[in-house]
């Protein structure tokens, strides 16, 4: 066992994904030991967090033994060989449960497998669990009436962020080396921010959505939550790229993101918006954001204050696009099984049924021209944008509990995703990376936004931040 492993103690689950993959590849650790470590940690701590909906331990352990035999036999190893992973419970795997966090699909077992799962497993990953999530991926807080709320590992009174609640919490708790999330209005970045992990929403079309539960075909994105930007880069190389089974997956080559992580930001211009994203930011969030920007500046980046164009347009149109599509998808069940939805979900699905179709079509038809105008002006001036992922201090689960009738819950509920949902309308890649803690000891996330298919530059800047900070390495005390 090398120095990297011994420096973290004996709990192999605390390794990063890249470290774990390297340890399996060089034989210092077995895949079986990694898988047992994750399962053991879940057994010891998940009762207090509720991150996991199902596990298939024996299947995973057998897959790990097979991975170890393959290495011993000298077979070619993929970049994720022998690394166990758990994912948001909405990625279809033939014959396996996929509840989508719902009562309606509590027993759903699809007969085909998502492209992204196939790609991760082809690279050597082992899927061992399905993780808690917001019902049908439709809330920004992580509340779940059917499987119970997933608790924030840093403080269970507070939201995990949603909808990939279990993914954020499980990565933070070191239950898994990586977890898939999905992001339609912030559902990867919000739990990443709340739980103190790294989460990337790729460019619209960067990753195939075949076999991922749909919410909004215009705004859904598949992406990873990991311990670090480097881990994120490793899995994105595997996940991204065209897919003949998903015509919306872009025909754009996938670079080696990890190879370009050198921590050098000289020549990189980072824009700080003076509108929308920086309005009404709570003081501890602003302080952590400014400290992170100073780190990026020290790494060579130039900070540029700028006014973003057409933000009112983006805000108006982004407010209805995904909601109308979600309402259309769920209209049948809303009619036939309204009481099988949580109150907050059926409440959100209802109003878009009354939005006139021309409004929706206007939002769709303006999307291209607005992106052109936005990208031309913004990315003519800067290479990246930086904002707080969540402008407010994280609210409690009670403060945002619409089902409980908490006064003001609707406003707080919607406020959580204020800084994330606009990027889904624009289709831009955005990452949330840990940048500190607030005055209550809860994580704060910095959002870095790139131009289309600029995941490499986004990851490069996030990794540079993590070269000089250790926020991403801090672990919640689960005891």
């Amino acid at each position: 066992m090398d120095a990297t492993l011994t420096s973290r103690g004996t709990d192999l689950a605390t390794l990063s994904l890249v470290e774990a993959a390297a340890a399996v590849a060089d034989g210092s650790v077995t895949s079986l030991a990694l898988t047992e470590a994750c399962l053991d940690r879940i057994a010891r701590h998940d009762l207090g967090l509720n991150t996991v909906i199902w596990t298939e331990a024996e299947t995973a352990l057998e897959a790990a033994r097979k991975a170890d035999r393959a290495r011993a036999a000298g077979e070619a190893l993929g970049p994720l060989h022998g690394v166990p992973m758990a994912h948001k419970d909405m990625y279809y795997q033939a014959g396996r449960l996929s509840t989508c966090g719902s009562a309606i699909r509590a027993d759903f077992r699809p007969d085909y497998t998502a492209t992204v799962i196939e790609r991760l497993e082809a690279a050597g990953a082992i899927t061992f669990a399905g993780l808690n999530m917001a019902e049908f991926a439709q809330n920004p807080t992580g509340h779940n009436r059917h499987f119970g709320d997933c608790l924030n590992p840093w403080n269970g009174d507070f939201i995990t962020g949603g909808s990939s609640s279990g993914s954020g919490a499980a990565v933070a708790a070191r239950f898994t080396f990586m977890a898939l999330g999905s992001d339609t209005g912030g559902s990867i970045r919000l739990p990443a921010s709340c739980c103190g992990v790294t989460g990337l929403k790729p460019t619209q079309g960067r990753v195939s959505r075949y076999g991922a539960m749909p919410l909004s075909f215009s705004c859904d994105n598949v992406g990873p939550l990991t311990r670090s930007a480097r881990d994120c880069a490793r899995v994105m190389r595997v996940m991204a790229g065209p897919d003949p089974r998903d015509r919306t997956a872009a025909q754009v080559p996938v670079p080696d993101y990890e190879a370009k992580l050198d921590g050098d930001l000289r020549g990189t211009r980072i824009g700080i918006p003076d509108t929308w994203f920086m309005e009404d930011v709570d003081e501890p969030i602003m302080a952590a954001t400014e400290a992170a920007l100073a780190v990026l500046q020290a790494r060579g980046a130039t900070l540029v204050r700028l006014t973003l164009p057409m933000i009112e347009d983006v805000a108006a149109y982004s407010a209805i696009l995904g909601r109308c599509e979600a309402a259309a998808i769920h209209a049948q069940w809303m009619r036939e099984r309204p009481h099988d939805y949580a109150i907050h979900l059926s409440a959100r699905l209802f109003p878009p049924l009354g939005i006139p179709a021309p409004y929706y079509i206007e939002a769709q038809s303006r999307r291209g021209p607005i992106l052109r105008a936005f990208a031309k002006e913004v990315f003519g001036a800067v290479d990246l944008l930086a904002t707080p992922t969540i402008p407010m201090r994280i609210p409690t689960r009670l403060e945002t509990d619409i089902d409980a009738g908490t006064p003001g819950a609707v406003e707080r509920f919607m406020g959580v995703s204020r800084n994330t949902r606009l990027l889904n309308y624009l289709g831009l890649p955005a990452i949330s990376v840990p940048c500190g803690f607030d005055d209550r000891g809860l994580p704060v996330g910095l959002q870095l936004i790139g131009r289309p298919f600029g995941e490499g530059r986004v990851l490069h800047a996030a990794d540079a931040l993590q070269c000089d900070t250790d926020w991403h390495e801090r672990m919640p005390d689960l005891a």
């Binding site: 009619r335 209802f350 109003p351």
Partner: protein, 71 residues
């Protein structure tokens, strides 16, 4: 409110959901969210006059590719 709209968006949403989709308001929170449709109407109305006929391709995916990062 737009000059052309005389009814309450919440009431119109209730009528449309019931009449066109057979979906009744599932709870009071749904009506609270529906009341926010007024803001949606106001936001759209605020954009009137800024829209224009688009001669260039309006395809969103084409715009993504046109402004993509050179990796």
């Amino acid at each position: 409110m737009g000059a052309s709209m005389t009814g309450d968006p919440k009431d119109l949403a209730v009528e449309t959901a019931q009449g066109w989709f057979g979906v009744a308001p599932p709870n009071d929170a749904a009506l609270e969210f529906a009341a926010d449709l007024r803001q949606t109407v106001e936001a759209f109305e605020a954009l009137r006059g800024r829209l224009r006929f688009e001669d260039e391709p309006v395809d969103f995916e084409a715009a993504l590719l046109a402004y993509r990062e050179a990796e």
